[in-house]
């Protein structure tokens, strides 16, 4: 089998008394569309930050395409593209300037960066807003320009933290199309989400996280098991089943009073 896209061993992160990531071991296959799913506070963002070198883990090792993230950053940073959640972009640049800046920092020659930027802006439907400052972009437009910046240097592995959060259906479909084309070429996408329908329709491989641990991982069908939907399987895995509000709130609706 080819080298794993991502290999995580014994990854830990604590913030004061709170353990955000409690010993993760995980191997993600290359060339797949991989979903990292979990409820809010499961540790998805913390994990992705440590995997991409933006947060130093307390313990554990992370390898991207066979290279250690902390010992061999030159090899790793050239191979990954990242779209983090909750971090700003250089928002006082226009969309085009941001791509040009990002591409040149990545070491692309100026003309090549501009050529790729033009194509990405077209495909992501941002050409009309390319000269507007990113600070004036909507949420969907920000996600798209962030995705464009992450794709510009043609990385082997793409890490996306909640790429569809707050994105309108049209932009979501555009992002989806670009990502499907990208994985079809043999690249790997790892993205976090808590929208199960989305993960189920996009991914061929999933890892389920809850309370800082991996609860299940593997091909989609395997993780889903006997459950009718991934949503059901997920609720069972994170232990949130049977919590239904049927008996309380019986006054709600019905129009009597």
């Amino acid at each position: 089998m080819a080298t794993a896209a991502l290999r995580i061993e014994g990854l830990w992160k604590r913030f004061g008394g709170h353990t955000a990531v409690a010993g993760i071991d995980l191997e993600l296959p290359a060339g797949k569309f991989i979903g990292l799913v979990g409820p809010n506070g499961a540790g998805k963002t913390t994990t992705l930050s440590m995997v991409t070198g933006l947060l130093r883990p307390d313990e554990g090792t992370v390898e991207v395409a066979g290279h250690d993230v902390w010992r061999d950053p030159v090899a790793v940073k050239a191979r990954i593209g990242v779209l983090p959640e909750g971090l700003r972009l250089f928002e006082r640049l226009s969309g085009r300037e941001l791509l040009s800046y990002s591409g040149r920092l990545r070491g692309l020659p100026g003309d090549e960066a501009d050529r790729r930027a033009t194509q990405l802006l077209d495909v992501l439907d941002l050409a009309g807003a390319q000269h507007k400052l990113v600070v004036d972009y909507s949420t969907g437009m920000r996600k798209k320009i962030g995705l464009a910046a992450a794709l510009l240097h043609n990385p082997e592995v793409l890490f996306l933290d909640e790429p569809f959060e707050g994105v309108d259906p049209v932009s979501a479909q555009t992002i989806r199309g670009v990502l499907e084309r990208y994985t079809a070429s043999g690249a790997t996408v790892v993205f976090s989400s808590h929208v199960m329908e989305l993960v189920e329709s996009l991914c061929d491989w999933v890892a389920v996280m809850a309370a800082g641990r991996i609860r299940a991982h593997g091909p989609l069908a395997e993780v889903r098991g006997q459950a009718p939907t991934l949503q059901q399987a997920f609720l069972r895995l994170v232990g949130a089943q049977g919590r239904d509000a049927g008996s309380d709130l019986d006054w709600l609706g019905g129009g009597t009073r």
Binding site: G53, L54, L55, L87, R88, F90, E91, E97, L105, Q130
Partner: protein, 538 residues
């Protein structure tokens, strides 16, 4: 009450809106004791100042040029009212009529109600005190006194209507991103304005109030100061001029209220489009800047320089910091030189002020630093990044510090010491860049994106170490050049040896910058996650 009853709108909404204003004012005060204390103390200070000013005008009635002072005072007051809503858009809740957009109100009654509500507060009381002072100074005789009553009323309405008209025509801007950008710059205007007022007052102190007469002769015909001019005219028996000036003031109030009513109607019926811009127009504008920036070197250096320079212009916080540094860096040495006091070495002040911009480089990026962090994988990348930022800074600071030094020494007429002071300036600039780069890597902190604060709560200590520790270190690093200067002075060697200090300072500055960046680069590369964490709190 039956379910089908439609509430009948009151005949006049003025009492409702005035009560709303009072309620907002009181509930705002009730929310926190700190706010109460701040409001009360500012009210007391404003009233004391107003009363003192009124008393001053009463005492100085017989001064020869007092009429000019009174007219100028009214003009400054009106200017204050016009500018206030631009800088403090959130200052008055009743000022934002878009909050009333859902109510079935017609512009006429709404304007009357909002105007009445605007007359409630410390500001109007303070204004009345000042205006009464202005008219008391010039009102001689019964006719003038009668005109004075009308004049105060018209001038007050003029001020308030001016503020409201300015606010209403700009409220889309004020509540948008661009408006908030503008508000960040207001502190700078106040700081520089205070310096200019200070200079002007000193000049008047020396040259006498007669200097004001030509300006006042024009202003006495410009509303709302023309109301004060009318009182003066009436006191001198020119009743025709007085009537004309009063009519001007009244016409101005009418026009301002008309503008206000029209923009209110537009405001309440049209969507927000302040930041929308035609795509092709924006494209042309940006294209030109790009052209000039193309002269920067290729590769990471040029890329980093380009972004840094764009941020100086486009990021309101960075822009405010730069503009303050440029203005204060010029004013302090110049004022000192003009007064002929102080040391010639004060010319180095500009280099110091501008060098501070190298501090907390990554904090200026805020959490967008992750984009930089992801492209730094070796000390060499960090070196290129820091060098690019330092070069972008030097592009502005080097010519500017040179210019300020030359101009200061020219004003002093002390050409002999120019090379020496210039050399010291360069050495200080170099030391500031070196310590700035190093503290950027070692003591980064977050800069809040909104508001006037420059440090996040909890990071003040860090910021203090970073900036003040760095500045002390920079001065210490300049010791060799300072020692050389002292040695030259003590040795009474004169101009020939003093000239050596220019190349010596320049070379020393360049060397120390290079060394500082070299030391900062590996630290930056090794601490990327820690820096990102420290700068992401804003």
């Amino acid at each position: 009450m039956s379910a089908t009853a439609v509430p009948v709108p009151p005949r006049s909404i003025t009492p409702v809106v005035v009560r709303l204003k009072l309620a907002l004012l009181l509930s705002g005060l009730r929310r926190s004791s700190g706010r109460r204390a701040a409001y009360l103390s500012s009210a007391v200070v404003a009233l004391l100042f107003g009363v003192a000013q009124l008393w001053g005008f009463v005492l100085l009635r017989d001064l020869p040029h007092i009429a000019s002072v009174a007219v100028l005072g009214a003009t400054v007051l009106a200017l204050g009212w016009a500018v206030m809503p631009l800088f403090f858009p959130g200052g008055d809740e009743t000022l934002d009529p878009t909050r009333l957009a859902m109510l079935p109100l017609r512009p006429g009654p709404l304007v009357r109600a909002l105007l009445a509500a605007s007359l409630v507060g410390i500001g109007p009381v303070f204004t009345v005190l000042l205006l009464v002072g202005c008219v008391v100074a010039v009102a001689d005789g019964a006719a003038a006194c009668a005109v004075a009553v009308l004049a105060v009323l018209l001038a007050l309405l003029g001020c308030v209507a001016l503020a409201r008209a300015v606010a209403a025509t700009n409220i889309r801007l004020l509540s948008s991103r661009k408006g908030r950008d503008l508000a960040v710059l207001s502190g700078l205007v106040v700081a520089v304005g205070a310096q200019l007022v200070n200079l002007g007052a000193q000049h008047l102190g020396q040259a006498g109030l007669g200097q004001l007469d030509p300006v006042a002769d024009v202003l006495r015909w410009v509303p709302p100061a023309s109301a004060v001019g009318a009182v003066d005219s009436a006191a001198h028996g020119s009743y025709g001029a007085a009537a004309a000036q009063l009519a001007l003031a009244a016409a101005a109030v009418a026009v301002l209220l008309g503008v206000w009513a029209r923009s209110l109607t537009r405001l309440m019926t049209a969507p927000d489009s302040s930041t929308l811009q035609p795509i092709d127009a924006a494209g042309r504008g940006r294209g030109r800047t790009r052209g000039r920036l193309r002269m920067l070197p290729a590769g990471r250096t040029g890329t980093v320089m380009e972004r840094s320079l764009r941020y100086i212009w486009r990021d309101p916080k960075t822009k405010a910091a730069w503009a303050t540094a440029l203005a204060v860096g010029l004013l302090v040495p110049l004022v000192n030189a003009a007064q002929g006091t102080g040391s010639p070495y004060i010319a180095c002040f500009a280099a110091g002020m501008l060098g501070v911009q190298m501090y907390n480089q990554f904090g200026q990026d805020s959490s967008a630093f992750w984009m930089v962090a992801l492209t730094i994988s070796s000390p060499r990348d960090a070196w290129l990044e820091l060098r690019g930022r330092a070069l972008a800074l030097l592009l502005i600071t080097l010519p500017y510090a040179t210019l300020v030094t030359v101009v200061t020494m020219a004003v002093r007429g002390d050409w002999a010491r120019l090379p020496e002071v210039l050399g010291l300036s360069f050495a200080l600039l170099g030391a500031m860049l070196a310590t700035g780069a190093w503290t950027s890597a070692r003591f980064p902190y977050s800069i809040p994106q909104e508001g006037f604060k420059n440090v996040m709560p909890g990071q003040a200590g860090l910021a203090w170490i970073s900036v003040f520790g760095g500045m002390v270190a920079a001065v210490v690093l300049c010791a060799p050049v300072v020692a050389l200067a002292v040695w030259v002075r003590l040795g009474t060697a004169g101009g020939a040896v003093s000239a050596v200090l220019l190349p010596a300072g320049a070379v020393y500055g360049a060397a120390i910058t290079w060394l500082g960046l070299r030391l900062a680069a590996p630290r930056t590369a090794a601490r990327l996650p820690e820096i990102l964490d420290a700068v992401s709190k804003g």
